[in-house]
């Protein structure tokens, strides 16, 4: 139920068995079925979700009802509307399950209590947020300065697992292309080989 969570935690900050037990009490195990929402836009995001099994995505919906995917999360990743989680303002993202999933949720109150009482949790959080920040910078750079083809290849190189599990139109959305453009690029790449 928490195996992968603690595996990843221990990679970042090694825990004693006692500390692990202490942290475990703050975690909420939660199953989500495919297509179910973890969060809908307009609600306050009350947790950070760690994916033990399955796949989720976070996306906003624009005025033409187009879904714009901001993030995917597969096993071992964390997903949330961090702005809403930290400020208590309504979420601007929807988060739903692309596959039947098993999650470990950390509620706002659990998060705050652990930050106060478990120094290693604070370190873990800092490392997580630093990692997310770096990924975000890289993503922005790619989007503003790469060609469509480079963006796609970058994505495939960086996230080969996602490319295998997620439908093409969602990948197009994530890298900011229309599905038609992505399909043209894929054709060109496969004929060029």
């Amino acid at each position: 139920m928490y195996e992968l969570f603690f595996e990843e935690f221990n990679k970042k900050v090694p825990l004693t068995a006692e500390e692990q037990e202490q942290i475990k009490h703050y975690l909420t195990p939660k199953k989500l079925r495919r297509k179910q929402y973890l969060l809908q836009e307009g609600d306050v995001c009350k947790f950070i979700a760690f994916v033990e099994k399955g796949a989720l995505r976070a996306y906003s919906v624009d005025e033409n009802f187009t879904e714009n995917i901001i993030q995917f999360a597969l096993e071992g990743w964390t997903i949330s509307d961090l702005y809403s989680f930290l400020t208590g303002e309504p979420a601007v993202y929807n988060i739903d399950a692309l596959e039947d999933s098993e999650l470990v949720l950390i509620s706002k109150s659990a998060h705050e209590e652990m930050l106060q009482t478990i120094p290693k949790y604070e370190t873990y959080t800092r490392l997580n947020i630093t990692g997310a920040y770096l990924a975000m910078q890289r993503r922005i750079t790619t989007i503003i300065s790469s060609t469509a083809e480079e963006r796609y290849q970058d994505f495939i190189n960086l996230y080969p697992h996602i490319a295998q599990r997620v439908p093409q139109h969602m990948i197009a959305s994530y890298i900011g292309l229309t599905p038609e453009t992505l399909s043209r690029i894929r054709k060109k790449l496969s004929s060029g080989r």
Binding site: M1, H25, K31
Partner: protein
């Protein structure tokens, strides 16, 4: 709340469980119903769906799985069974709201509830235990539902749930610290 919450009701085929199941479907909830006899629970699902065809409700055989999926858990089993159910679901209800409807004197609607929340909290130390006792016979309309528990956020969640079910929520105090306040007397 816009995001649909999943509520698991354990003991859903009983008289209290059946009543709760149909009244909660007025809200933005998805219900998973469990009991000791799946066929009996399925009858409740069928009955509910006859009234509300679009109702998101389903019978699940495995109580552990259903509670793992749930955001909120309601125990509508006889008082003597609460411990057995708690033992089965303990590992998947961490940090979740667990509501017990059970009275020490079954079928006595305003039986003293002293210590009931404290007992449940002891059985499920990392869950947010809440007790709800309703007295439909006070003559007031809508009828009052007394809510007791220690976690402020959980009390808020349960108050909303109880209003949805058609009762007037009365937060009767903290469960473990002020047990006398939980008695279902006005």
């Amino acid at each position: 709340m816009i995001t649909k919450q999943t509520i698991t009701i354990v003991g859903a085929s009983g008289s209290t469980g059946t009543a709760i199941s149909s009244s909660l479907l007025r809200g933005n909830y998805r219900l998973l119903l469990c009991g000791s006899d799946l066929a009996e629970v399925q009858k409740v699902v069928d009955a509910v769906k006859r009234h509300i065809a679009a109702a998101e409700v389903e019978a699940l055989d495995c109580t552990l799985d259903a509670c793992w999926e749930a955001d909120i858990i309601v125990l509508a089993v006889p008082f003597a069974e609460v411990q057995e159910v708690a033992d089965r679901i303990r590992e998947v209800v961490n940090q979740k709201v667990v509501i017990s409807l059970a009275s020490p004197q079954d079928n006595a609607h305003d039986a003293p509830a002293t210590g009931v929340v404290a007992e449940l909290q002891k059985l499920l130390p990392y869950a947010k235990a809440v007790r709800v006792s309703a007295n439909p016979f006070t003559g007031s309309k809508p009828a009052e539902a007394f809510i007791a528990g220690d976690d402020a956020e959980a009390l808020q969640t349960v108050s909303e749930l109880v209003s949805t079910a058609g009762y007037r929520p009365v937060v009767a105090g903290a469960g473990t610290t002020d047990a006398s306040a939980t008695e279902g007397k006005v």
